[in-house]
């Protein structure tokens, strides 16, 4: 660890509802917009299957994240799990993937907030409003994690209640629906559409694994992480199902597939003012909440990479008064602005999805390695023991690879670029850390030595005696 964080450490004050707010806050925007591309590819039935298949994968990823997060209690999340249980190359790749996933999403959210603000006040310009949103959220995260996540909790709760209220009013006959839309747009592209729709399925839940990234700042991580993460996952499953139903019975399928704000459009089609206002507000608030959560998660990933010298250790400083990784937080700003004004936002978002899917292969793999290295389930090592492991972890990896393969249709070059980028990162950091010979200090974490390490040590000693 670097010298910078010895004087001050991250403050441990977060509770389960903060974990929920971080996870759901980042993701709920994907239920307000973006998920409807599944309808364009596979119709209502394709979208429903994509929602269920991706939902199964994310339920498993959430359980893996709960177990790993409550065990390691570290800010880097997937990066730290890969570093401890897989190796430096995988750790660097997944650390960068998490950073890219969240920072690209932050840029996209800030632009959407600016567009919504402009549609309400036409005299505003997108460029300065985007800058203002990014700067404001960076400042809130600089000042303290509790304030940032409490804000997220309020914004996310309003947006979620808006969906729930709209759904129950519709389900109990308060809104005129069009069930014929369900049949008319059931499967426009045939059976191949069912498979093609899978590539946008992650939109419903993309980023929920980030909830576990505040483990180091939780008062009781072994309670807050599993409880907040699972409550968040159930919230998203409920929200996804409600959203799909509402939009499918209120918007014709051909329009739904290309809609920019589908939930808001569904509310407009209902003709009820209170829902138009609520869902319009919800769309705006989820974008702010998502960008806010992304600043939090991307800065923690960069902070963790810096703390272990994968990038300059200058970024691992903790603010003496606010106890936040303030340099890593501030550094999110120029990168997010760069992404926002690159002019290739759709490519940036696709890169974010591919980065996320790479994490969904490596998170269950980290859990499998964790179980092999530390089979004991003591309070110190594994306070939360996930069910049906490692079988469901293998199943999640299979689903993630299947979804990655569907991106080959339409996003071939993004996929190749991402593999080359993370491949180079893997080999570069593997080589760099092999020469620096850094080993994990299990005793510092209060853990026993991992399985097989004793044999390895004896083997190394024997080899060095042989060399002499």
């Amino acid at each position: 660890m670097s010298e910078h964080n010895e004087a001050a450490s991250l403050v441990k004050t977060l509770r389960p509802f903060h974990v929920w707010a971080l996870g759901v806050g980042i993701v709920l925007v994907g239920e307000y917009m973006g998920w409807n591309f599944t309808v364009a590819k596979g119709g209502v039935l394709g979208s429903l299957l994509a929602m269920l298949v991706a939902g199964t994968m994310y339920v498993i990823i959430s359980l893996c994240a709960s177990e790993l997060g409550s065990a390691t209690k570290l800010a880097g999340g997937p990066y730290d799990w890969a570093r401890l249980f897989v190796g430096p190359g995988a750790a660097a790749s997944v650390g960068l993937a998490v950073y890219m996933e969240y920072i690209a999403l932050e840029a996209a959210d800030a632009i959407v907030v600016a567009f919504i603000a402009q549609s309400i006040f036409p005299e505003l310009q997108v460029f300065p409003v985007t800058l203002l949103v990014i700067a404001l959220l960076t400042f809130i995260n600089y000042r303290g994690v509790v304030a940032a996540l409490t804000l997220n909790f309020v914004l996310t709760m309003i947006a979620f209640i808006a969906i729930v209220a709209f759904f129950f009013t519709t389900a109990f006959g308060g809104v005129d629906i069009h069930p014929e839309y369900l049949f008319q747009g059931a499967l426009p592209n045939g059976m191949i559409g069912l498979f093609a729709a899978l590539q946008f399925g992650p939109w419903f839940y993309l980023g929920i694994e980030g909830a576990a990234m505040c483990a180091e700042e939780c008062k009781h991580p072994s309670r807050a992480v599993p409880l907040g993460q699972q409550a968040g996952m159930i919230t998203l499953l409920i929200g996804a199902a409600m959203t799909l139903y509402l939009c499918a019975v209120l918007i014709p399928t051909d329009l739904l597939g290309v809609s920019v704000y589908p939930l808001f459009e569904a509310a407009q089609n209902s003709g009820i003012f209170i829902f138009i206002a609520l869902l319009g507000l919800g769309t705006f608030l989820t974008c702010v909440a998502s960008a806010n959560g992304c600043v939090c998660d991307s800065s923690r990933s960069w902070f963790a990479l810096s703390r272990d010298n994968y990038v300059s250790s200058w970024f691992s400083a903790v603010h003496p008064r606010y106890n936040t990784p303030y340099r890593a937080v501030i550094f999110t700003m120029p990168v997010a602005i760069g992404f926002a004004f690159s002019g290739f936002l759709d490519q940036v978002i696709t890169f974010s999805i591919i980065s996320g899917l790479l994490c969904y292969v490596l998170i269950p793999f980290s859990l499998i390695r964790f179980r092999n290295l530390f089979p004991q389930s003591t309070s110190r090592v594994r306070p939360f023991v996930g069910p049906l492991q490692p079988y469901i972890a293998y199943f999640a990896i299979a689903i993630a690879i299947t979804i990655l393969s569907t991106l080959f249709w339409g996003y071939k070059y993004n996929l190749i670029f991402a593999f080359v980028f993370y491949g180079i990162a893997y080999f570069y950091f593997s080589h760099r850390h092999k020469s620096s010979n850094i080993e994990n200090n299990w005793a510092e974490m209060g853990w026993p030595l991992p399985e097989g390490s004793e044999n390895q040590r004896i083997g190394k000693e024997a080899m060095s005696i042989g060399d002499e």
């Binding site: 369900l182 049949f183 309670r223 599993p226 699972q230 159930i234 306070p383 069910p387």
Partner: protein, 89 residues
Amino acid sequence: METNNQALESKYHSKLNGDTLLVVGMLALLVGVEGFIIYRILSETWEIASDFFYLYVIFLGLIFLIETIGCLRVRDSIKNHMFEFKYYD
């Protein structure tokens, strides 16, 4: 001292019941909402979906099964460690 311990224990069990209620309530909402939506969509599109409806049943079943067992494990974990890690102080 005995009274203090009893009060503490009672407070912990009451907070644990709060956590349990939250999770059970959310699981019940999940089952109700997902079941309702899948029933409505499949019944309207049965002519097309009847050939592959089992895919929906399998994945829905997996979500319910894994999430329910996962939530039970979360509750067990909190119950087992609540005094050791002083969750509700």
